[in-house]
Symmetry: C2
Subunit: 131 residues, 2 copies
Amino acid sequence: MNEDVEPQDPCVERLARLTGDRCKAKNAARRLQTLTDNIDESELVAEAEIFKAMSDPCRLAILKLLREGELCVCEIMTALDRPQSSTSHHLSILKRAGLIRERKEGKWSRYRLSEGAVIEMMNLAKLMTSL
Amino acid sequence: MNEDVEPQDPCVERLARLTGDRCKAKNAARRLQTLTDNIDESELVAEAEIFKAMSDPCRLAILKLLREGELCVCEIMTALDRPQSSTSHHLSILKRAGLIRERKEGKWSRYRLSEGAVIEMMNLAKLMTSL
DNA sequence: CTTATATATCGAAATGGTTTGATATGACTC
DNA sequence: GAGTCATATCAAACCATTTCGATATATAAG
């Protein structure tokens, strides 16, 4: 007896008022439902984490530095003129998001960009800001 | 009398200890200096704002919904099952970052993706999470 | 084993973001 | 113009992030 979308569904009610056509509203509601059903929550969170990692000016600067090649924490903090603990913290966030990789060498930690599309991502953002 | 990099520069000191070679250290310091000089702070902040706008799961879901076409606030809040004020707030952030555009039509506000590279950005992120 | 150096982690303060009910605005309807 | 509906804005509670000094860990050198 239960259809995909109930006749009394507030969603349909609302859309019916929008379109003035109850039948169209039902289809629209079904379409919206399908769209949201196709969005995987955990995928959403994973993708958001990448953007969150890139959403800090300091971290973006680090990524830009690393385009030129591998650098150790010591060089990065010097280049950015930031305290060591801040720099280290930001690096750990970038690493957790998979944007950079670490290579330990003696007492040094050398960081480089991951093989992924990090650079393309930055290029796109630059393109978008210059429009 | 002032060179690009002072002999007593703590930056050079540090790098000299790293490489063991004061001359190489000086060059490395100069290279790092050039790299950071080429990073424009305001550009950095502008790009970070784009990533920040995309760093929330709810906002990412909105962007994914809008890939299918123009939607009004009412439809979006219905699809995502979120309160109206939250939905509106997220839309304003996306708009401020230039990721979506608004078209007023009577009492409705219809939103659509901007012409920019928003979709490519999402595709890249999806690619990066699936590695 | 002590010292020095590079980095990571902790902790607390400051800051910023998200959420949502309540309220304001603005448009269409009667 | 009173009522209704779509949306925006406000405000307060709540939660997350950033920052940085202090401390811990780990490696290398003496």
